[in-house]
């Protein structure tokens, strides 16, 4: 008969062990596994079947644990990554192959990916790329661009010899922090809280703009079982507002009386896990009065628009400006000019790990564990909000499941910190996917108008650029975007007469902030699209036109900055020449026999200044040797998957002269690592890498001085003795004989590097960055002229990285960046309140990324460690314009509104057909 189970227990086999648990009816298997059975290697990215991070094997079949009711697992076998590792041959082979290919970057998707691949390999060993794409089609990865994943699955079981050698600069060693990503032991923001922690739920505005009244929230809390307390603006001991740029700090922790965007926090509820699982927000006494909202730039600039901030007239947040020569006169006298207007959309970072963390009081100090790109900035911001001294706050970054800029800003931190402070208990908060998308920063939508001229022999002659950026309700990194864009909007080309202005405009939207490229990917769309039009008008080959105008050593940028060495754009563009010729030929012959599916080739260049724009930007790295010979590197640059743990260690080991394997890494923790600055602006390899180099050099100098050895001496760390060999003799330094300091170090060094820059004057002239990195991408696409769909066929990416510290990590960054650029170009459009999930907001899946060839160019930089340059943002700057230019070449239509969705492409094609 009807077997009613209600709150009965469910029994199944989990990773070989019999387990019994008592889930709520309808509870998801992912929740039971993580919270009741301790299987935190099962990740949750969306709770809606969209991301596949929760994939487990149920009786051998890959399923989304978040869509499987735990009760349906009764009597079944459940396997997760942690259980498969060590017992399953396929899982072992995959893990080896993933390590060798660098197929796990941040690692948050890796459990779901490997589990899905195990299901495939168990059934089928004759793999093809198409089979891998189908089997992994439901698992999203935002870091890798999938190509390394495909390669790794196809090569599972093949021998993967670990590269031999000292791991020094230039060697493609495996990530030093990779192991935990491949066996499920890496702990991310939601994985570290104790099971009895209280939960926080942030209550958010359901309207773009609203007045509200919290009602008797405290009375409600007292009357509701399991609720411990509520938090509102009244609970903030320190400053009410925060912001990453002090002069613009404007975002309230909790809105007071009026909200400025949909999803803005007004209060937070703190309660036991069981009570919070049953919390019904509809029972809260809060009342809302919706107010008219300005969501677009034109709404916000209209006469009748409300001022988002009373002290920012006309909703203009700030303005950036660069001018040199006389742009108007130059355009007047140009032989040809082109002009165009372009718009781009809000783009969501869509890391697979939503923001998460936990906080607790340890004595009088607050200890906070969360996924973050900027631990010291978090510490300083919390000190202000909590009214506590900075050293009373310890930030321990957890593993970070993707950041891309958005995890530079505060998210969960103030709420868990305030709750821990108020309740004295450990508290935990993990954003839901919707909450993450509604409330954390986005890439700025841009409206750009640009005009560019050239002489008939193809030389650029004059450019004007006007960009408006929807910065949302609060400043976040908007000022950085406004300042960066005019510096970069020329692209890496020689333009003597130039005028560029960028403005940040406030709207009632979620704040726009930092996202790989800080506005430069948007400006590159306008400039590089117009370059194609110019080249066509001039009858010049589009790539040759760019090469002709490329910046060189000794030629000034639009800021008047002149580099004597390291300007690598010409080399990048020239590296594309063979692929360009081949792609043009293949496309022509394809199009001779295909009417509906037309192919085209596009190219675009890009550049990016590493580090802060004309602002101090130091990193400090510490190292020490213990009496027993342990060599410790205190590396505080947060590794968000890009590989700074590995790269900085390689630089350090090379500069010191010992093998990488002898270095013990101590990762970011504000109590034990000095400030290595934020992981943004492609600065970690360059700036923190230099600090690591200086620190190694100081330690080395100290060692050599102690034995009076020659500068060129070779070091060998042999147990607790350092052997120092120079031309004269071999010295031995016994570490055990040296006195140890409070931290146990007998030798130590701590050095800081701050890149040399010169402030910009009123016309934006100066030296904004100590180094630029350069890139050029070639894209081949196929446009379905009936449907409007665009299928990328191939991408070739040339990147000048100065010196590739680790070529495998370089490729990983390039491919991952391209996937994000492709998303921005073809599919990604965040609409506040309408696309707050990963099925309406589309990001590239494994089937969307074509093969990518990476060409590494090394034009050494004068300042970079071993000549290296930053790379993290350069990787997606040329992608979108290269794709748009390929669409234009294939179909004849210029897409000026991003993303180029099938509907938009088709509409343009029809417009043209209708004349």
């Amino acid at each position: 008969m009807d077997k009613r189970v209600g709150l009965d227990s469910v029994a199944f086999t989990l990773n070989g062990a019999e387990v019994t648990t008592r889930p709520l009816p309808g509870e998801r298997l992912s929740h039971s596994l993580r919270e009741r059975l301790g299987a935190r290697d099962v990740k949750v990215g969306c709770d809606a079947g969209d991301c596949g991070a929760c994939t487990v094997l149920l009786d051998g079949e890959a399923v989304c644990a978040c869509l499987t009711p735990t009760h349906q697992a009764e009597g079944c076998t459940v396997e997760t990554l942690a259980g498969l590792r060590g017992t399953d041959k396929a899982a072992e082979a995959l893990a080896d192959s993933f390590a060798a290919h660098g197929a796990a970057q941040c690692g948050i998707c890796t459990p779901g990916i490997i589990v899905s691949a195990v299901a495939l390999l168990r059934k089928d060993t004759q793999l093809t790329e198409a089979k891998v794409q189908d089997a992994l089609g439901g698992v999203l990865c935002r870091c890798t661009g999938y190509r390394k994943i495909i390669d790794a699955v196809l090569a599972a079981g093949a021998p993967h010899p670990v590269p031999k050698g000292d791991g020094h600069v230039g060697q493609p060693i495996q990530r030093l922090d990779g192991g935990g990503k491949l066996d499920g032991t890496e702990l991310f923001g939601d994985d570290v809280a104790p099971t009895d922690a209280l939960l926080v739920r942030v209550i958010r505005s359901p309207h773009h703009r609203a007045r509200f009244d919290l009602g008797d929230l405290h009375g409600w809390a007292e009357a509701t079982p399991g609720i411990v307390t509520v938090l509102t603006a009244d609970d903030i001991p320190g400053t009410q507002t925060f912001g990453v740029i002090p002069a613009f700090a404007d975002q309230p922790v909790f809105a007071v009386s009026e909200t400025r965007f949909k999803g803005e926090a007004v209060a937070a509820i703190v309660g036991s896990a069981a009570a919070m699982q049953l919390l019904d927000e509809a029972t809260l006494p809060i009342t809302w009065t919706e107010l008219p909202a300005a969501l677009t730039i034109s709404d916000a600039l209209s006469q009748v628009a409300a001022e988002v901030h009373p002290d920012r007239a006309g909703n203009v947040m700030c303005r950036g400006f660069v001018a040199c020569g006389d742009s108007e006169a130059a355009l007047q006298s140009a032989d040809v000019t082109v002009e165009g207007s372009f718009t781009t959309a809000f783009v969501e970072h869509a890391y697979i790990e939503p923001e998460a963390g936990f906080a607790q009081m340890v004595g009088n100090r607050l200890e906070l564990h969360a996924c973050t790109q900027a631990p010291v900035m978090d510490q300083e911001a919390l000190a202000d909000i909590l009214g506590m001294p900075t050293d009373a706050i310890r930030i321990v970054p957890t593993g970070i499941g993707g950041g891309f800029g958005s995890k530079l800003d505060l998210s969960v931190q103030p709420y868990i910190a305030l709750a821990a402070l108020k309740t004295g208990q450990p508290v935990r908060l993990t954003y839901s996917r919707t909450e993450s998308m509604q409330s954390t920063t986005k890439r700025h939508p841009a409206q750009i108008t640009a005009r560019i001229g050239a002489t008939k022999d193809g030389r650029l002659q004059g450019m004007t650029f006007h960009g408006q950026f929807n910065t949302g309700a609060y400043a976040s990194w908007g000022p950085t975007v406004a300042n960066r864009v005019p510096v970069h909007a020329s692209g890496p080309y020689q333009i003597a007469d130039y005028r560029a202005e960028a403005k940040g405009i406030h709207t009632h939207c979620v704040p726009s902030g930092a996202f790989r490229g800080f506005g430069v990917p948007q400006s590159a769309v306008a400039q590089e699209s117009l370059f194609d039009e110019l080249a066509d008008k001039l009858g010049l080959d589009r790539l040759e036109f760019r090469i002709l105008n490329a910046l060189d050593n000794g030629t000034p940028t639009v800021c008047g900055q002149v580099f004597d060495s390291g300007v690598g754009i010409r080399a990048c563009l020239e590296a594309l020449l063979p692929a360009w010729a081949e792609a043009l030929t293949l496309t022509t012959s394809w199009n001779q026999v295909h009417e509906t599916q037309r192919r085209g080739v596009g190219v675009a260049g890009g550049w990016y200044g590493c580090g802060n724009t004309s602002l101090p930007n130091p990193s400090t790295i510490k190292c020490g040797l213990r009496a027993d010979g342990t060599l410790v590197l205190h590396q505080g640059a947060v590794d968000i998957g890009q590989g700074s743990n590995t790269v900085i260690t390689q630089i350090f080991a090379t500069a010191l002269g010992v093998p990488v394997e002898q270095v013990t890494l101590v990762g970011a923790d504000t109590d034990v690592t000095p400030d290595a600055g934020k992981t943004s602006a492609s600065r970690q390899t360059f700036v923190s890498g230099n600090a690591a180099r200086l620190s190694a050099e100081a330690l080395r100098a100290d060692i050599l001085a102690r034995v009076n050895a020659d500068k060129t001496a070779e070091l060998r760390l042999d147990g607790n003795v350092i052997e120092i060999r120079d031309a004269a003799k071999t010295h031995r330094l016994a570490l055990a004989d040296l006195p140890a300091d409070a931290e146990g170090y007998v030798l130590r060094a701590e050095e800081t590097y701050d890149p040399p820059t010169v402030p910009l004057d009123a016309n934006g002239q100066g030296q904004p960055y100590a180094q630029f990195g350069y890139a050029a991408h070639l894209a081949v696409v196929e446009v379905d002229m009936e449907l409007g769909t665009v299928k990328p066929i191939r991408i070739v990416a040339a990147h000048d990285v100065g010196h590739a510290i680790n070529p495998v990590l370089v490729e990983g960054q390039v491919q991952g960046g391209i996937a994000q650029g492709l998303g921005m170009a073809l599919m990604e459009e965040y609409l506040p309140g309408r696309t707050d999930n990963l099925h309406d907001y589309l990001i590239p899946t494994i089937g969307d990324i074509p093969p990518i060839d990476t060409l590494i160019i090394e034009e050494p930089d004068a300042h970079g460690p071993f000549g290296a340059k930053g790379l993290g943002e350069h990787v997606l700057i040329p992608t979108a314009p290269a794709l748009l230019n390929a669409i234009r070449h294939a179909s004849g239509v210029q897409i000026t509104e991003l993303p180029a969705t099938p509907a938009r492409v088709r509409a343009k094609l029809r417009e043209r057909a209708d004349g």
């Binding site: 008969m1 009807d2 077997k3 009613r4 189970v5 209600g6 009816p25 309808g26 998801r28 709770d47 809606a48 079947g49 596949g52 994939t55 149920l58 079949e61 890959a62 399923v63 989304c64 978040c66 869509l67 499987t68 009711p69 009760h71 349906q72 009764e74 899905s116 299901a119 189908d134 089997a135 089609g137 439901g138 699982q277 049953l278 919390l279 019904d280 009936e786 449907l787 409007g788 769909t789 665009v790 299928k791 998303g823 073809l826 599919m827 459009e829 609409l831 309408r834 696309t835 099925h839 309406d840 589309l842 590239p844 899946t845 969307d848 969705t901 099938p902 509907a903 088709r906 509409a907």
Partner: protein, 263 residues
Amino acid sequence: MYSFDIARPSSVADAASALGQEEAQALGGGQTLIPTLKQRLASPSVLVSLSGIAEIKGVCKMDDGRLSIGGGTNHATVAAEAGAHYPALADLANNIGDPAVRSRGTIGGSLANNDPSACYPAAALASAAEIVTNTRSIAADDYFKGLFETALEEGEIITEVRMAVPEKAAYAKFEQPASRFGLVAVFVAKHADSVRVAVTGASEEGVYRWSEAEAALSANFSADALSGLTVSGDGMISDLHGTGEYRAHLVTVMTKRAVEAAG
């Protein structure tokens, strides 16, 4: 939140009696229902899990030549087992979502849910299916009643779906980049006595038969026969991904492509 019970019957009879309770709801693979529970869109007091009922699973050929598919059969099983008899259907099943969705989601759940862009409703209409429940049999033509609406009564369980196997058939789905759901898809089936063209993902009324195309293809089963036909954007779904006009256009292109694929 919701508070409800869960029942795990092992026969259709038990399931039917469990579903007779106040506010009871069937749970198939949960691929659609579980996320909606969290969002409180649906809040039943009893969930009746059908996954333990062996008698409603499996695919077999019937004596009259039709294909019988148990209502609790998952998409992966249809993809694997329908191929020998009805390749276009196996192909459709094999292109639903991703492997995880295919190993849990069921044909009964898909037809009961009648999502405007779901795949099976098009196959059912084009295959002149009979939707068999624990109490009766419903012709596909009478079954679909608009978006998320069907002829099913409260507590009725889809136990079996019987499909006529066409001479030629193909399902052409317009797949957006990165999305595993199709925007517009068309199932074209040429039966001995008729041609059926079922369109999903386009109309505000849900899945429907495009009668003009059926007439044109009955006279001449080739893509050329469709060239004069146009579809109006009125009454078509307009959303983030495309206007009604665009969807109307897709209906014509996907129908042609389905006919071409059917050969």
